[in-house]
Amino acid sequence: MTAPLSAPLEISFDYTRSLGPVLAKFMTALADRRILGSRGSDGRVHVPPAEFDPVSFAPPAELIEVGPEGTVLTWSWTDHPVDGQPLDRPFAWALIRLDGADTGMLHAVDGGSAGQMRTGMRVRPRWAAQTSGQITDIECFEPATQPARQSAAEPAAAAAGQAVAAGQAVAGQVADGAADGAEPVTMIITPVRLGYQHTASTEESRYLRALQDGKIIGQRCPACQKVYVPPRGACPTDGVPTTTDVELPDHGIVTTFCVVNVPFQGQRVATPYVAASILLDGADIAFQHLILGCAPDEVRMGMRVRAVWRPPEDWGTTSENIDHFEPTGEPDAPYESYAHHL
């Protein structure tokens, strides 16, 4: 059996995170190359600060400056960093108890090699060349015993460098939390980019490969005998895969539709467009496609339509081989003939 089709899918968004009063002070201080912690009602100093006291559940009464040096409580060594991590060469992750704190803060240590790392070693932050009020303002920590090292990214290069590309903070209008006249940070932007391999089901792959040959293949459920297009890994009412191939014509009716006038991020079809539920002749379920070839306000429920295929040389294993559907000009189907498909 031929393997199902698969292709990469990237999920990517720059999230805008508002910080609230406690984290805003922490980030604002980072921009100023200072690290704050919160003193808990039990006296313990949390770094980063706890937004709500673990014992009293109230916001912390005070934030105090800690560090900048600290002690490694535990560490692990990474030979192969993954995207987005603070360093792109081998480094250590560590829980670091900053001087004056009672908790460990997770960050990277540019330790050279695993052999040079030790629990109990003293470290200090290496600040990014440009700080903006986010956790990556601390580029990493470094052994406190070695000579201070310049940030990897020179200021001039930093604008295009990883430290800045990894995120940025936004100064806002909250007055509280400003330190030394620095503009308070109220938001951070956190890019989240994840790569996945999307896989179509065996049944859908069969449909997509048929599309590449200019054919539309549905499948009949062995239990309810309904014809599904695309075929399904499980008939939704019977929980068994659809099995028997049924070649379907490339024409049918519009059961219902909407006219999309609203633009949005990631949209790939120009507005306005008609997204329609199209019931192919011989199928028992409609699928979504685009209607062109007439003005949007001429599209009707029950209108007969046929596929307009892209040139065969452009065909691939995708529903986009059918560029759109267009009216055939035949009389509309009576409402009763498709009412049970709505």
Binding site: F13, S18, P236, N261, F264, Q265, T317, T318, H340
Partner: protein, 385 residues
Amino acid sequence: MKHRAAVLGTGQTQHRSKRPDVSIAGLCREAVDRALADAGLGLADIDAVVVGKAPDLFEGVMMPELYLADALGAVGKPLLRVHTAGSVGGATGNVAASLVQAGVHRRVLAVAFEKQSESNAMWALSIAPPFSMPLLAGAGGYFAPHVRAYIRRSGAPEHVGAMVAVKDRRNGARNQYAHLRQPDITLESVQASPMLWDPVRYDETCPSSDGACAVVIGDQSAAEAAAGPVAWIRATSMRTEPTMFAGKDHVNPRAGADAAAALWQQAGITDPRGQIDVAEIYVPFSWFEPMWLENLGFAEQGKGWQLTESGETEIGGSIPINPSGGVLCSNPIGASGLLRFAESAMQVMGKAGDHQVAGARTALGHAYGGGSQYFSMWVVADTPD
């Protein structure tokens, strides 16, 4: 054996398109602190926490309840995270209720939230996977064709959708927490608003909100110990059907009708129209009011729009729907269902303020999600049975 359970307190945030003044934890605590204050309790009194929210992609945090455990006072306690698409807020309320009804816990905190301004829901709901037609256009693009089908099936006049929008937005103006408060909205202004997903107009569409809702549910002894009024949970129900299948009725989904039938039976209600005093139902697009009135059994098939058109669903009508302004006024997606549940409880507790329905003693909270496939509901009343 099912133990009695009651809502001891409710709380919600000030809903806005953006809440730049709070973090995710801060947003949740605003609702939680209000619910606890309403119940006269503290976080230390809570035995277990149930968190609900819609897709994690909205905030870009995988299972945010893990990081929220501290802020929610859940450390050392049981914490559950529910996700049943748009109905999740309702499911959160029902799962929290079941923990008490099962006799497992005495006081449970249900929290649901969405901070939509962290990303963009249209983006998150319209990611076109490989091989597919890139036609997805958010929830509006999904539901508008079904609204068209309803209009065709019922023969409803076009202005009914706009009437719902006017009613809900004006109701929202009486709700201090509502995101959209539009006391001066008119039928004409709604009908003049842009057509987003024809036949759904801009003013007939829910906003995108940051917000949270919290509800404290207690057992009989906790309810009897409460200083203020409580809302007794008379019945809960949940039903699910597949997103798409041959023969699916998108206008009147059987899962919704089955859930309602089970709910009415459990609550001993034989005539919902006569026995329910007020209902908070999940109406993200205005036409879903008449659709759900039929699906829930408040109106006969094809007649829901007549109930709306008659004015009976306004505050002061015989069956007020969404006196809070509903989802059309505030839509922090994950919280929207729990807001319906909380608002129904507030009505029977007599705590709904300017949008209180006079004499409300029995109320419905309703939520739906996915492709009209997940339904969760409850009935609350001012007495246990």
